[in-house]
Structure formats: C-alpha cells, structure tokens
C-alpha cells in the first residue's frame, strides 16, 4: 500500500493547480510536466542500457524549433499544431538515428562525449543559424492548443498532462511485456543477452531514438508553453539537470523520475534568490554520485514482471518436454569446423583445427593451458573473429563474427566466467532464454516482443526448467543470491531454455563440488539424449571420459590426437604434453 503513496502525491500535485487561484501554479505545473516527459525519455535509455546521455535538452531544442517553424506555416488551427509535432518527431528521430548508428559499439565515456558534443553543437547552431532559428532573438508568437481552440490556458495544461500520461503508459506497458525481460537483461549484461541471440544493437538504437523522440515531444510542448523560444534553456546544464532529476528519483520506477523533476524544477522557484544556487546544485550532485558510487544506479532496478506474484500450477513439463516441443523428432545437426585459424598479433592461437560433431554426440576438447581450447570456442561462437578456415552448420557457412548472429543459428555457449543476469530472479533468467528464443528470429522481433505479454505458459515452463536442474526452490531468488555452486546450473538452464541445437560448454564444472559436478553432467547427458550436439572443453579427465563420445586433444593450437576418449587419453604425445614426462632427467 505504501508503494502507491508517491503516485498519489504526484496525482495530487498535478491536480492542485486546477483548484489554486491564478495562472501561476498552472504555469509552474505545466513546466514540471514538460520536463517530466523529457526526463522519462532519459530514464528509459538509462534503464535499458545503463548508460548516461547528456543531450536530451538538445533533443528538446530540435523538437521545439521544428515545431515552432512548421506549426505556423499551416494556419492557426489545430492541424498546424499536429503537423508541427510530427515534424519534431521525424526530425529528432532522423537525427538521433544518425547520431547513434555509428556509435553502437561505443561505450561509457566515448559515448557520453559524443552526446555532450552533440548537445553543444545543437545549442551553438541555434545561436548561429540566425536565418532559421532567429539566433539569440529566437522565435516568438508560437501557437498552442488552448489558443487554437479558444480555450483557457488550463486546457494546454490538460493537453500536456495527457501526453505525460500517454508516454508514461506506453513505457509502462512495454516494461510489462515480454520485451521488458529483455530490456532489463540488456541493462544488466548485454553480452549474456547477445549470447542468447538477441539483437542487442537494435535494442540500443531503438532505446536511444525513442528517448530522443520523447525529448523532442517535450520540446514541442515547451515551445507551446513559453510561446517564445531562444537558445537559452537548451544548454548542457539543462541536459545535466534532467539527468540529475532521473538519478535523484531512482531509476526503478517512473514515479521516482517525476518526483525528481518536481524537486529539481520547483526548488529554483524558491531558491533563485540564492546566487550560489547552481554551485550548491553541482556540489550536491557530486555527493549524489558518491552515494551511488559502488553499486551503480540500477541496483534497485527490478523487472515489473517480478513484482507480479507468480502462482505455478506445475502443469507444464520441464526441460525434457521443452526440448521435445522446440525440436520434435530426430535431428540431423552436423557442425563442421575446418582448418580454423586464429592469430593474436604474432601469437598463433589456432593453427588449423578440424573437428566434427553431430546431433546426440558429446565431443570433448582437452589440452594444457594455452593450447587454444577456449579460443576454439570463442572463434566458433563468434566472440572473436577467425582468421582462416570455416565453420559450417548443416552445410550453412556460419558468419565470421558476431555472438548474437551465430546464436541465432541455434548454436549457444556458456562462458568460462559464469554470466547470469544477477539482478533478475532465477525464473526471469530462464524466462529471458525462452523469450529470446521466441522473438529473436526476425528483425521486428523486438517490436513483437513489446506487443506481447509474457505468456503464463512460458512462466510455468521457466519454473519447470528450473526444477529439472534442481533450482526450483530458488526460483524467486535473485541470481546474485544463489550459492556459488548453483550459478552454473542457472546459466545452463537459461541457455537450454533458449533452445540450442549445438551447445558449446567452456569448463562448465570448474570450481564445483563433486555433487554439483554430477548434476551438470546429468544435464549434459540429457541434452545428448535429446539430440543436441555438445562440445565440452574441460580439464576434468574423469568427466571427459564419462561423458564424451569423441575427444580432440589440442596443443599450441594444433590437434595432436583425436578419437575415442580412451584412445586419446592413452596417446603418448598427449600424455607427454599434458602431464609432463616424469622421466625427464633435468639434472644431467
């Protein structure tokens, strides 16, 4: 119940101006609403990518100027206003797409610098391009809805409230959809999500463009609100203020953002007499950052799905029936690795490796440190581009690089260092695999995922898969809270939920106790029995002997033995290379 108090407070705050005397409060409240819309755009990008943008006020400027310039061309009626809004959306959409498309791989400070520089360019352009923007003098006599319809100013306030509600509602709905799981996963561990075959670049692009368009929309309403715009109010400081508003309120709920905006934009009204206000503001900002320093901003970010109670009926089958459902009937998977080469500078990591694995086979890869085992998996899964040779799956040549691209061929992998979505529950982790599997195939899968809720059946399925790997008791626990020995099991559960035809396992049992190892071994056998082709890299010879049908031994990037486990483990060259001859007389 207490969770709803902030929401109620906001409703009261936003409704108050209607009953308070004079137009001052409506003016103030409308400004808050406009900034809240812009801030929601910033929040949405932060919640999706865990990255900061410093150019939202530039997007507002684009929206404001586009609106101001187009709206007046179409007479004083409403049509002109709508065209103005559309113009703002189109232009900001195009600009933001052009800005982020080449920057998809840029992280952290480089991306931040681009947004700061872009924000500065837009501000400077507004000042210099006097022919279009009016320079420092700006544009005046901007129409608005209330004036166009002959209604009192409060009607404009209602219009902006409607937009806030609409934007907030749409974002909320998306957070609740199947895409919501992917969105949260993306913010926690983008690589792990890519390894499930999800087009993470697309997510980032869509998030940025959407956030920017929301900013432009806010900008258009800002223009209507002021009836006059000039470059002031669209500076870097203003972008930083929006960011601060989002950070103060906490990223976990939209409500927090609105409260943050109220705090940031109401405060000056009472403090503007203080010259040192902005100075204090920045000082407080630094302190705020210190508060979040260790764990980051998204520490309280939880999926909206998680907040819904889940009542499993146990009616849906676990791993076995899921694998049956995805790939019914006998399989004919054939993965062929031919002559694969990889160099790191002058170091030859792989010097032409051949390996075959088919449906229902477990193929082990062994060798000492530095022999190229992990590199082989990295190259096959597209984590690292290969320098020569080919990898074909059922006669289809696989791309040279791109973890998500290769994952879409149903070839999935685990990592040496376990990757789970730590701030999602175990069930959500597995659900991410299921959702990825459902929506990753087409380019528009992301939009389809937004349009669909998570099917109850899928949630049940996730629960059941957890049961198959002995994790049912932890289904509502966060992945981060799992005891260390169970985390690998969760990773494997999630990968299997994403429906692989080929499974690449990189030292899956390292650091596990005997029992935990046996459980993983059981899961691997289950995969084998259901026609999944498995490549298993490990040091544990007992495990290799127990599980594998074929084994390849690598040494310094080349195959030195290949065949049945018994044959390879008895091979003299392998023994010499791996264990070291005890008979070498070092002191002679």
């Amino acid at each position: 119940m207490t969770r709803n108090i902030p929401f109620l407070l906001i409703v009261i705050a936003l409704a108050a101006p209607f009953v308070l005397p004079g137009t001052y409060y409506i003016y103030l409240a409308e400004l808050v609403v406009i900034y809240a819309i812009a801030a929601l755009g910033v929040r949405q990008f932060l919640a999706t990518t865990n990255q900061l943008v410093f150019c939202q006020s530039a997007m507002m400027a684009i929206g404001a100027y586009s609106f101001a310039l187009t709206a007046r061309q179409f007479g004083d009626g409403i049509t002109g206003l709508f065209i103005g809004l559309v113009a703002g959306l189109i232009i900001s959409g195009a600009v933001s797409m052009a800005l982020i498309f080449p920057a998809l791989r840029l992280r952290g400070p480089y991306f931040a610098m681009i947004t700061i520089a872009f924000g500065w360019i837009v501000w400077r352009t507004a000042i210099e391009w006097t022919a279009v923007t009016g320079g420092d003098l700006g544009i005046s006599a901007i129409p608005n809805f209330a004036a166009a319809l002959g209604l009192p100013p409060s009607a404009q306030y209602v219009a902006s409230l409607a937009v806030l509600a609409a934007v907030s509602g749409i974002l909320w709905r998306i957070g609740n959809s199947a895409f919501g799981v992917l969105q949260l996963a993306h913010s926690v561990d983008t690589m792990a999500l890519a390894a499930l075959g999800v087009r993470v670049d697309h997510i980032r692009l869509i998030a940025f463009v959407a956030g920017s368009c929301i900013g432009a929309l806010a900008g258009a309403f800002f223009a209507m609100h002021q009836a006059y715009i000039n470059p002031n109010g669209f500076e870097v400081f203003d972008s930083v203020s929006l960011l601060v508003a989002v950070l103060i309120g906490g990223v976990s709920r939209q409500v927090g953002t609105v409260i943050g905006v109220i705090a940031i934009y109401i405060a000056p009204e009472f403090l503007h007499a203080l010259d040192a206000y902005r100075l204090l503001f920045y000082g407080a900002l630094v302190l705020l950052m210190l508060n979040f320093a260790r764990e980051g901003l998204l520490r309280d970010n939880r999926s909206q799905i998680w907040r819904r109670p889940f009542h499993g009926t146990g009616a849906v089958g676990g791993l076995v029936s899921w694998l049956e459902e995805l790939h019914p009937g006998p399989r004919h998977t054939h993965l062929k690795i031919s002559g694969v080469q990889k160099h790191f500078g002058t170091i030859r990591a792989l010097g032409g490796v051949d390996l075959d694995v088919r449906a229902g086979e477990v193929h082990g890869v062994v060798g000492p440190n530095g022999s190229g085992k992990s590199t082989l998996l990295d190259v096959a899964s597209g984590l690292v581009p290969r320098d020569g040779g080919s990898v074909t799956l059922n006669d289809l040549k696989l791309p040279r690089e791109g973890v998500d691209r290769i994952a879409r061929y149903d070839m999935l992998r685990t990592f040496q260092k376990i990757r789970n979505f730590d701030t999602l529950t175990c069930r959500e982790n597995v659900l991410a695999g299921i959702v990825a599997q459902r929506f990753r195939t087409s380019t528009f899968g992301i939009f389809r995922a937004m349009a669909n809720r998570v099917a109850t059946r899928d949630e049940e399925r996730a629960q059941a898969i957890l049961g198959s790997l002995g994790l049912a008791a932890h289904s509502d626990d966060l992945a981060a809270a799992l005891p260390q020995g169970r985390r690998r099991a969760l990773e494997i559960a999630r990968i299997l939920a994403a429906g692989p035809r080929v499974l690449l396992l990189d030292e899956p049992t390292s650091g596990l106790s005997r029992d935990e190892r046996d459980e993983i071994a059981r899961a691997i056998l289950l995969c084998r029995d259901h026609g999944i082709a498995v490549i298993l890299v490990d040091h544990d010879m007992e495990l290799i002997e127990h599980l594998c049908d074929q084994v390849t031994a690598l040494s310094v990037g080349r195959v030195i033995a290949q065949g049945s486990p018994q044959a390879v483990l008895a091979d003299e060259r392998f023994k010499a290379d791996y264990f070291g001859g005890g008979e070498r007389d070092v002191d002679a």
């Binding site: 000492p368 440190n369 530095g370 260092k417 376990i418 260390q484 985390r487 030292e507 390292s510 650091g511 040091h539 791996y578 264990f579 070291g580 001859g581 005890g582 008979e583 070498r584 070092v586 002191d587």
Partner: protein, 226 residues
C-alpha cells in the same frame, strides 16, 4: 617463513581452493604441483593479494598479509614472477631491471644498484649483453631469465614463480632449472608452481600437490596420481 592458515581462495563466483594450510621455512625450495585449472595461479595471486582471500590467513615472517595492498609486499620481502613472465614489453631490459630495483635505487643510490646488478649479471650472464633491447624482442626463455633477475634485484626474502616453464622449449627449461639451482645456492628461498613433475628436481626440498581444491604433501618427485 610463510604460513597459510585455513585459506579459502577464489575469485568471481568460484571458490577454487578450500581450507588450505601449509608452512614453509626459510631456506626451503617448494614445488607446488597442480594440473591445469587446479588453482596454482589463484593460490599465488591470493598470497600476493591480487585476489582477496575468501577465508583464513596468510602470514609472512610474522606479518599478516590479508588487507595489505599488493604494492606493499615487495617492501616486506616478497617477489613474484607471474605466469607468462610479464615483463614490461616496451621497456628495455635495463628499464625493467631498474624498476625491479627501484627501492634500492631510491634508498641506497645508483652505486648500490649497480653492485646488485653485477651480482645478478654473474647469475645470468647473457642478460648483460641485452640490456638495451626492448623486452618484447627476447625469446621466451630469455624473458624468463630477465623476469627472475628483475625480481632478484629487489633482494627479496622469498622468490615465488608461477609456472616458470610454461611456453618454454626443453632447452630453455633445462637452462632455467640450472639457474634456479644457482639462485638457491645463493641462499634465496624459492616457491614455485608447476604442472609438470620433475622440474628442477635437484633443487627442490619439498613437494606439495593441489588436489580437489586442497593441498597435500607428496613425496619428492611426486607421483603422477591425479
């Protein structure tokens, strides 16, 4: 000299070593055997506080090491030659050695450093001829020698090496074993990890094996029963 008391070691999400206890006395040469992935590097990296110990304690000459920043360890006499040698590749051999001898240079001056350097040159004669070359241009075996020289210039009390023979040709391994013998005869205490049995067997006083996440004493030239 060095005591491990019920040490749990690991990093990330994995505990690799559990409840390890071990004692080493001054003047010994210990060989720690373990197969790939068993935790050899983790053990040394935890001793040197590159990873925080998960439980238990590490005591060197009466001082607890837990909580110390890594850079303090060379001050109290510990030196590590990590896996893969890790010379600073763009620095010359001499620069690498000078960094190794930094405390000596700062506290006792260039002359003292020169004297120590010449002692090291006696041990590794070929290093003298390569001082001005960039470290990256040396062969694996040569880099290993320089790395050990760099560690010795600091006059450590205990020299630790992580898989010193990794990536070396048999000839280089032989030469390395000889050098280790010479280092031992100069009085240094040595601790190294290895995968292959029999390395530097003549110099080794005790052998310890890592099995199933724990430490076990094994007989000299420990049998290969893993």
């Amino acid at each position: 000299m060095l005591t491990l008391d019920r040490l749990d070691a690991g990093y990330g999400a994995a505990t690799v070593l559990r409840d390890c206890s071990f004692q080493m006395n001054e003047g010994e040469c210990i060989s720690i055997l373990g197969k790939s992935g068993s935790g050899k590097s983790t053990l040394l990296e935890t001793i040197f506080q590159i990873h925080k110990p998960l439980a238990g304690s590490i005591i060197f000459e009466g001082q607890h090491l837990e909580g110390l920043p890594t850079w303090r360890l060379s001050e109290i006499g510990l030196a590590l030659v990590p896996e893969g040698r890790k010379l600073f590749p763009d620095h010359t051999v001499l620069e690498n050695l000078r960094i190794g001898g930094r405390r000596l240079i700062r506290q006792e001056g260039e002359r003292a450093f020169d004297a120590e350097l010449h002692r090291i040159f006696d041990l590794f004669p070929f290093v003298k001829t390569r001082t001005l070359e960039r470290a990256a241009y040396l062969s694996g075996g040569e880099q290993q020698m320089v790395a050990i020289a760099r560690a010795l210039v600091a006059r450590p009390r205990l020299l630790c090496l992580d898989e010193p023979t990794q990536g070396l040709s048999p000839a280089a391994v032989y030469a390395l074993a000889q050098s280790l013998g010479d280092v031992r005869s100069m009085g240094y205490s040595v601790l190294f990890t290895e995968q292959k049995t029999g390395f530097a067997a003549a110099a080794v006083t005790r052998v310890v094996a890592i099995r199933n996440g724990g430490l076990e004493e094994v007989d000299h030239n420990g049998e290969r029963s893993w």
